[in-house]
């Protein structure tokens, strides 16, 4: 008996030895890895944004970037950034662990028969209603500020507000339904935007082909929504049975098809020359006659209106049976279908809703710009919208809106103080740093936040891409 115990003691590492084995070396610490990542990104950016190379001196560019004081500033900047992020990370995590969702805040253990339970839920829902009122008040203030915003800015920034921020926010709201809620990766979202824009051109009579009758740009909105809905259903019906990664490829292909049609169907879309003279929005009912013209402000108000309606509708959707079914499908498709959720139908619904939102944005864009060409619908924009949605926090409507507004504004802002050609490089660096420090996005969705705080407590997984805790079929 004694011999075996001594033997075990010999073989099994003692407490301190175990601790030594478990302890990571300094270079194995994740924070060091993050430092290396940020520093190498800084060096790369330094080289890329420095002077261009020359044929006479092969090392001219490296000499001017890495061989000068420039790189030191970049390195200092990278280390300072890293230090700030490392410092704020634990603070943020503590905030996450402390913060609770509205449901948890008003949760008290309930026992007793069903009638009491219902009373309890009523009480909870009364509390929730109070929260809703606070939210409504907050939204009114925000909308008021947004209405005042154009008067504070120059014309250039007002144009940016409409052409970049508002249009991208509309697109992101739509893509959030597809990616954030239904969990489908759609890389061809701009295709529907193009369909919306070309529908506007067609129905307002700007295309080489004449429509049967001309429509006001406002009336094109329902037509474009219907067209995009149809296109979404046609694309989705055969492909949504595929798994996520295949779907991404199919949507990518769909985008390319739409782009090439726009470029090559010369007689119909006017090819690469684009379509000019698309009529603006106009209201003409009885004595009221208002035309949206060159000034950006009226478009801004119009787009705020459209976005508000869509946000209200989508928030309702998120907290309804549809939103719950989407979550169920996202989390476990097999279990969802065994529970009676028609998975293909709900995925198709998300796809079509996203597509029609993109179509609305397309109408607004075409009607504002008055000119569209295939180059307005590059694959780059599809990828950008996906990046914006992920940056803002997939599935969280507010995060997506704020993140998109920020990222759409940033390149325009950087235009003044960096080489304009390098702007998207900085955007890329920002996205990488974001993914290292906050993969869940700027403002993660409540469900994602719950998952995260559970992960801190050792329950489940914060990463929505991997399997949730509680056992799954392997």
């Amino acid at each position: 008996m004694t011999t075996t115990t001594t033997k075990e003691a010999d073989v099994a590492p003692s407490g301190s030895a175990l601790a030594r084995l478990r302890r990571k070396r300094w270079y194995q610490q994740p924070m060091v890895g993050r430092l290396v990542g940020i520093v190498s990104a800084a060096v790369l950016l330094d080289v890329m944004s420095g002077p261009q190379g020359s044929r006479e001196d092969v090392f001219f560019s490296l000499d001017k970037t890495l061989g000068s004081l420039r790189v030191v500033w970049w390195l200092i900047g990278a280390v300072v950034l890293w230090a700030i992020l490392e410092f704020t990370k634990p603070l943020y995590n503590r905030y996450l662990a402390a913060s609770v969702g509205p449901l948890e805040r008003f949760h008290t253990p309930v026992t007793g028969p069903v009638r009491q339970l219902v009373a309890q839920t009523r009480e909870t829902s009364a509390n929730l209603r109070r929260i809703v009122w606070v939210r409504i008040g907050f939204s009114v203030v925000v909308i008021g500020l947004l209405i005042l915003l154009p008067s504070l800015l120059s014309t250039f920034w007002n144009q940016v507000l409409v052409n970049e921020v508002a249009i991208y926010v509309l697109l992101a709201i739509g893509l959030n339904v597809v990616i954030g809620w239904a969990g489908l990766l759609d890389l061809g979202f701009i295709a529907f935007f193009a369909i919306g824009a070309y529908s506007t051109a067609y129905w307002t009579g700007a295309m080489p082909v004449d429509p049967p009758f001309k429509l006001n740009a406002f009336l094109v909105i329902p037509v474009a929504v219907a067209t995009c809905l149809l296109a979404g259903l046609l694309l989705g019906a055969p492909t949504l049975r595929l798994r996520g990664d295949y779907l991404a490829i199919v949507t990518l292909g769909f985008h390319e098809i739409i782009y090439l049609i726009a470029k090559n169907a010369d007689g119909f879309t006017n090819g690469p020359r684009g379509v000019q003279g698309i009529s603006n929005f106009r209201v003409h009912i009885g004595p009221i006659d208002y035309k949206w013209e060159l000034a950006p402000e009226p478009y801004w108000y119009l787009l705020i209106g459209i976005a508000t309606v869509l946000i209200i509708a989508f928030l309702r959707l998120e907290h309804s049976r549809v939103g719950r079914a989407w979550t169920a499908i996202r989390e476990d498709e097999v279990a969802a279908s065994a529970t009676g959720v028609p998975t293909v139908k709900f995925k198709l619904m998300a796809f079509a809703i996203g597509a029609s939102t993109s179509g609305i944005a397309g109408v607004a864009y075409a009607s504002k710009a008055g000119f569209i060409s295939p180059e307005s619908f590059l694959l780059l924009f599809s990828v950008l919208v996906v990046a914006y949605v992920i940056f803002g926090g997939m599935g969280s409507l507010w995060g997506v809106i704020i993140g998109t507004a920020f990222l759409a504004w940033l390149p325009q802002y950087m235009k003044d103080w960096v080489n304009p050609n390098d702007r998207f490089m900085y955007l890329g660096a920002l996205l990488i740093i974001m993914m290292i420090y906050r993969p869940q996005g700027l403002i993660p969705s409540v469900r994602r936040k719950r998952e995260l705080s559970m992960a801190k407590a050792g329950l489940g997984d914060a990463d929505a891409m991997s399997e949730p805790a509680g056992g799954r079929m392997t």
Binding site: D332, R450, A469
Partner: protein, 306 residues
């Protein structure tokens, strides 16, 4: 459907002619591997039928075939509704099988972990509702009414399985036994005629097992739902099941009342190996002379790994 509280003892009369589910000649092959071969099974309305068998016998494959997750190459699976209409389940999509009134739980619990217990059950209750996305986006009264209805139904069911205090807990944060109960509540929310329970007692402690026993009886008697049960815990099977069907290597090797099945030499052989089985049967026969039951020890060949 409302939950009526009848006395636990008055069992629904089981009519052997009224089969709620009839399975004939089901053969399921995975390439060259035969998962199920010529399986026949009758589930009478209002009974608890246990399917037992060693690991790899094809029990879960059978469940997957019954619920549309696998499509067997041969055979027929027929569900008879209360009005007597017959529906073939073979090759039907899982959500359509569910719609016809066949709900199931999973061997490895598959809940929606980031949703609350209430939301998990609501999802199931809502699959029977009609409000479309447009009426939801417009906030029409029918959408609101349906939301309240599913709330009420989910609360009822959470109370039924004894999870009242845990409405707003995340499913993933519940204990293992609670997760099992929640999964059963979710299955019940779709208003099934037949409930398929895949190893509901795996990984639960003895107290939870007793609770589960009571719960299965209540589902069967109070709600009048026919239950098909896969279970390794023989004590639970013997106390809950009206009849037992034994699968081994994808074939039905025995079927009958729990006591009959226990004495069946083929069953004992499947569980213990032929040699030991011969001894067991001899011992059982010797005991039978004394008038006591020969019992198969509660062999647990598939302790659940989490």
């Amino acid at each position: 459907m409302s939950i009526t509280t009848t006395k636990a003892d008055d069992r629904p009369r089981v009519d052997p002619e009224d089969q709620v589910m009839r399975v004939r000649g089901v053969t399921l092959r995975f390439g060259g591997l035969v998962g199920l071969s010529d399986v026949a099974l009758d589930l009478h309305r209002g009974e608890v039928l246990a399917v037992i068998g060693p690991n790899g016998a094809g029990k879960t494959s059978l469940f997957n075939s019954l619920t549309g997750m696998y499509v067997p190459q041969e055979g027929s699976i027929v569900l008879r509704d209360r009005a007597g209409g017959e529906h073939s389940l073979k090759g039907r999509k899982p959500h359509l099988v569910n719609r016809l009134g066949v709900a199931r739980t999973f061997q490895n619990i598959r809940l929606f972990g980031a949703l609350t217990a209430l939301e998990n059950v609501k999802i199931a209750a809502e699959t029977r509702q009609k409000a479309g996305p447009v009426s939801i986006m417009l906030g029409l009264p029918n959408a609101r009414r349906e939301d309240r209805e599913s709330d009420r139904r989910a609360l009822e069911l959470l109370h039924f399985v004894g999870l009242d205090g845990l409405l707003n807990e995340l499913a993933a944060s519940l204990s293992y036994g609670q997760q099992r109960s929640l999964e059963i509540a979710r299955a019940l929310a779709t208003d099934p005629q037949v409930l398929l329970l895949d190893e509901p007692a795996a990984g639960t402690n003895p107290t939870e097992k007793l609770d589960l026993e009571v719960l299965i009886r209540r589902i069967n008697r109070e709600l009048g739902i026919s239950v098909l049960l896969i279970e390794h815990d023989m004590r639970l099977v013997m106390s809950v099941a009206d009849r037992v069907t034994v699968l081994n290597f994808g074939k039905v090797i025995a079927s009958g009342s729990p006591a009959e099945v226990q004495r069946n030499p083929e069953v004992v052989a499947a569980y213990l190996g032929a040699e030991m089985a011969a001894e067991m049967v001899a011992a059982a026969e010797a005991e039978a002379v004394d008038g006591s039951d020969g019992t198969v020890p509660a062999q647990r060949d598939g302790e659940e790994q989490r």
